[in-house]
């Protein structure tokens, strides 16, 4: 049977992708950012996922304003890296797992979560930056990926609790997939940041620290945090953090935190990163 073994949470800042692509990770500015991922790159070599279920948001790339799916699951064989205005990132094509993706869609839709099915979808930095942070710059990505896009661009995004409960439904679906697969679930985006308007540059390290604590030890409570609290206290774009809760919902209640990293800044944003393992 398929098994969810670990969860990874990380920011997905485009400038981090650019730093990797342009070979700048050793520069003074970037060094402390990427040092936080050294452990992670070693860890993932040992943990060898077959499939990563990757929760991210599309940044006006695959979805424009014509159609705005709250939750979209990528069921295709492969997903091309998108041209976001400066040409596509030089990263491998993402290979999907259509059978598991379709199984999850069928299962969670009948479990009351109405997903949009995406059979053709380009993927942007929201997905490719976490891949680069964890796997470096290989010729081919070493695992299959199921992209799962959450709307956080047009207000309102789904609530934290909706994301958390959906994670639990995704877990139930993966647990019943009849193939031996080592599955990881990743939640990406955040942490505190605001990219727009005169308040741009807002960082709330205290909020972020509390979020990281509660995320590991008290997610039931954290899931109740309203959108307004994220936006008011940690910046309008910190609302991306609801996506981490999909990951947390799919993990066991009791998890082992094997890595935690936090750094300010990367460009406009606070970088947060966690690795959680299920104990069983």
């Amino acid at each position: 049977m398929a098994k969810v073994t670990a969860g990874v949470a990380t920011s997905h800042i485009p400038a981090m992708g650019a730093a990797i692509d342009l070979g700048k990770t050793g520069e003074d500015y970037w060094k402390p950012v990427f040092e936080g991922y050294e452990f992670s790159k070693k860890w993932i070599k040992d943990s060898k996922p077959d499939v990563v279920f990757l929760v991210y948001n599309d940044h006006a790339t695959a979805f424009d304003l014509k159609t705005i799916p709250t939750f979209a699951i990528g069921c295709a064989d492969e997903f091309q890296p998108a041209d976001e205005g400066w040409g596509p990132r030089p990263v491998p094509v993402v290979k999907g797992h259509p059978e598991l993706a379709s199984h999850i869609a069928q299962s969670v839709i009948q479990d009351d979560f109405d997903l949009t099915i995406a059979n053709e979808m380009e993927v942007d930095h929201g997905l490719s930056v976490p891949m680069s942070l964890m796997f470096g710059q290989p010729e081919e990505w070493p695992c299959k990926v199921i992209p799962f896009a959450v709307n956080v661009v047009v207000f309102p995004p789904p609530s934290g609790n909706r994301c958390y409960q959906l994670g639990k439904a995704i877990r139930r679906a993966i647990d019943t997939f009849d193939e031996d697969l080592n599955v990881q679930i990743w939640g990406t985006g955040g942490m505190s940041h605001q990219l727009q308007g005169p308040r741009a540059g807002l960082i709330n390290s205290e909020f972020d620290a509390k979020f990281l604590d509660s995320f590991v030890s008290n997610p039931d409570e954290l899931a109740k945090l309203p959108h307004l609290e994220y936006m008011r206290n940690a910046g309008s774009e910190a609302i991306e953090l609801v996506m981490w809760l999909v990951m947390r919902g799919a993990m066991d209640d009791d998890v082992e935190q094997v890595h935690r990293f936090y750094h300010v800044p990367a460009s406009n944003t606070a970088v947060g990163h966690l690795i959680l393992e299920n104990r069983t």
Partner: protein, 131 residues
């Protein structure tokens, strides 16, 4: 009934809700078109002519030409869509964010290195930094 907007008292922040989306629909779709290399080429040949192909207001077109991102946001622009403009121009998110705060990019970058803009005094309109 009008949309409930409890977020309206967050200073210096425009939440991209349904009202802003309606206002900025064509503006944002135009930004989106710059993701295609052939459109970028046409755009840079004659920016005004390119913008005239879209159902945008004169104000929106002028703010687009001026790269006035705060104005574009007030006219319904969404930051992720607007990012197609400054990315096409060869600028970073940090460059664009700095212009919206009225700081130079250097000053803004230094603020970020020093830990970013404090939330104190920035949560509510009228909130005092000291309490």
């Amino acid at each position: 009934m009008a949309l409930d907007k409890p977020y309206d008292d967050i200073p210096g922040t425009t939440v991209f809700d349904a009202d802003m989306l309606r206002k900025g629909y064509h503006l944002n779709q135009c930004c989106m078109s710059l993701m295609k290399a052939e459109n970028r080429e046409r755009f840079y040949k004659d920016q005004r002519a390119y913008l005239d192909e879209w159902k945008m207001t004169e104000d929106q077109k002028q703010a687009f030409l001026d790269r006035d991102y705060n104005r574009l946001i007030s006219l319904g622009g969404n930051i992720y869509f607007l990012s197609k403009i400054f990315s096409s121009d060869g600028h970073s998110f940090q460059f664009a964010a700095a212009t919206m705060t009225g700081m130079t990019q250097e000053e803004y970058a230094q603020m970020m290195i020093s830990g970013g803009r404090s939330p104190d005094g920035n949560r509510y309109v009228g909130e005092k930094a000291d309490g």
